[in-house]
């Protein structure tokens, strides 16, 4: 049924550099003893330093699981996970994360929510109290970029869903992580807010050039945001198709309405279709 060739194991590596994130031959089973659920099998993925990558695939195929492996929140049963040249064996500390649900703390103002990572992550943790003013300044600068300047003192429940998600994105970036993991952060937003946030996110990425892995159900989003898009098969997840997106498709909003953009989405769509018709 699958008429696409198996995905290349390694992306062509520019400059002979090792990938920043590299998963090889990874398998993971949830639960133990016999009735376990095989979430990922023989999974390969590599992401270059500073690259924006998107993962798409049917629901329950193991996308969130992949992020847990990359961030070290879970260890694979077999296979290797290497991030920044090191084997991942415990939760990494260079990661920012954002989810579909903003997961803000309702008893903290937006500003204090964004500052939370700095209270926890080394080396900021030790000097947090002393340097709070400086950190707050940085947070405000970030707020300014995402259009949140006026809501710093408000509590999450006083904000709209889109604003909460912006705060959550700021929180994931405040400690300047090398690796940003996004699990459908735009999924629950209305279409207009989502498009605004795409541009916000892109501007931040273009400025800071962190490595990003975005999970999404929205193919338009994946093509617009990511330099390369990987399609996963149904569970147990494997990458069945990888596609590089030419930069001109991601240039601006209008590019989304060009025929070439529609083509790219269509191509991806076909592979997602295959993934769903072919449960292994």
């Amino acid at each position: 049924m699958i008429n696409t060739p198996p995905p290349p194991r390694e992306e062509p590596v520019p400059g002979g550099q090792r990938p920043f994130v590299e998963l090889t031959n990874v398998s993971l089973t949830y639960g133990d003893f016999g009735e376990g659920l095989l979430a990922l099998q023989d999974f390969h993925l590599s992401v270059q330093q500073g690259e924006f990558t998107a993962l798409v695939g049917p629901s329950g195929c193991g996308k969130s699981t992949t992020l847990k492996l990359i961030s070290g929140l879970r260890q694979p049963d077999s296979g290797g996970v290497i991030v920044a040249g090191k084997e991942v064996s415990k939760p990494l500390k260079i990661v920012g994360m954002a989810f579909q649900n903003p997961t803000l703390l309702p008893w903290r103002t937006s500003l204090d929510n964004v500052l939370l990572p700095l209270e926890i992550v080394e080396p900021h943790r030790r000097s947090f109290r002393k340097e709070r003013a400086r950190h707050a300044e940085r947070a405000m600068a970030l707020f300014e970029k995402v259009g949140l300047k006026d809501v710093a003192d408000r509590f999450p429940w006083q904000l709209s869903g889109g604003m909460q998600q912006r705060v959550s994105l700021c929180r994931s970036l405040i400690h300047e992580p090398d690796l940003l993991l996004l699990d459908e952060p735009f999924g629950a937003l209305d279409a207009f807010t989502r498009e605004d946030l795409w541009d916000t996110m892109k501007a931040l990425w273009e400025e800071q050039r962190f490595t990003a892995v975005l999970i999404t159900h929205d193919l338009t989003e994946s093509v617009y945001m990511a330099e390369s898009v990987h399609v996963l098969s149904a569970r147990p997840g494997r990458i069945v198709h990888s596609q590089r997106i030419p930069p001109e498709l991601r240039r601006d909003r209008d590019a989304r309405f060009s025929p070439a953009f529609a083509d790219a989405v269509y191509q991806l769509r076909q592979h997602v279709g295959h993934a769903q018709e072919d449960p292994v």
Binding site: K68, S71, G72, L73, P91, L92, K93, V95, G96, M97, F99, N101, T103, L105, P106, W107, L116, P117, E119, I120, V121, E122, F155, W157, Q158, R171, S172, H175, L181, D183
Partner: protein, 256 residues
């Protein structure tokens, strides 16, 4: 204040007044003897007559209740945090805790008397034993229901378990804790009074016992009224603290 608000503010008083009015009228209408059911006015009169006794008894009960309650608060929060922050711990302790909670605390009073003799200590410990379980259960629930994504965010920043507990777990459990305090303080009070009835030489419970055994029924009812009023007072204090400290949990609203 508009009329609707005024009506809302007055309604509990009207209800209470109505209740006592019906009671009074019933006593008069059916000519119920004082030795069976004294009317509210008779009870209050007895209360005024014996006020020094009632006051010192109330103070004693208040003291045992509050000491027991604060013990329950400290132990309940500590154990609740412990049980709530680990699945394994929860699984391991849950049956024991449920079993413990099912034992009527009155049944333990004789044991406490055996150990500590007649006096304040059994009352304090009974108050503690009745009150600490709801606190423990609520704090554990508050901590255990932390969103897994939020825990992931913190863990991926290198947060240790203790840090997650301090930054998120405990603040998150506060509304649960305060909700349980209202229940717990009433339970502590009930525990105290019961223990005083079984084994004490002071307090409202002891007063109730001695008054009823000497057939001073109006005094019994006066003491019961005082128990009710004290119960309301303590509930109100717990309620006030709750509303002051966790406004975020009700999103600034406060009612359905």
């Amino acid at each position: 204040m508009n009329r609707r608000k005024l009506r809302q503010a007055l309604s509990p008083w009207v209800t209470a007044f109505g209740f006592f009015a019906i009671w009074e009228v019933a006593c008069l209408a059916f000519d119920i003897p004082q030795s069976i059911l004294p009317s509210p006015i008779d009870s209050v009169r007895a209360g005024i007559e014996f006020w020094p006794v009632i006051l010192s008894a109330s103070m004693q009960t208040l003291y045992t209740t509050l000491v027991g309650f604060f013990l329950a608060l400290v132990v309940g929060v500590a154990l609740g945090a412990l049980v709530g922050s680990s699945q394994a711990m929860y699984r391991a302790t849950n049956p024991l805790l449920i079993g413990f909670n099912s034992v009527p605390k009155v049944a333990m009073v004789p044991v406490l008397v055996m150990w500590f003799g007649i006096g304040s200590v059994p009352a304090i410990l009974t108050a503690f034993l009745t009150a600490f379980f709801p606190i423990l259960a609520n704090v554990a629930t508050g901590i255990a229901t932390l969103e897994p994504e939020l825990a992931d965010v913190l863990r991926s920043l290198g947060a240790k378990r203790s840090v997650i507990l301090r930054k998120v777990g405990l603040p998150r459990a506060l509304p649960y804790l305060f909700a349980s305090l209202k229940v717990a303080i009433s339970l502590a009070f009930v525990g105290s009074v019961i223990a005083e009835m079984v084994a004490s030489d002071g307090g409202i419970g002891y007063l109730l016992l001695t008054a009823s055994s000497s057939f001073r029924v109006p005094l019994v009812f006066a003491a019961l009224l005082v128990v009710g009023v004290l119960g309301i007072l303590m509930y109100l204090i717990a309620d006030l603290i709750e509303r002051r400290s966790t406004r975020w949990a009700t999103r600034g609203g406060g009612s359905l």
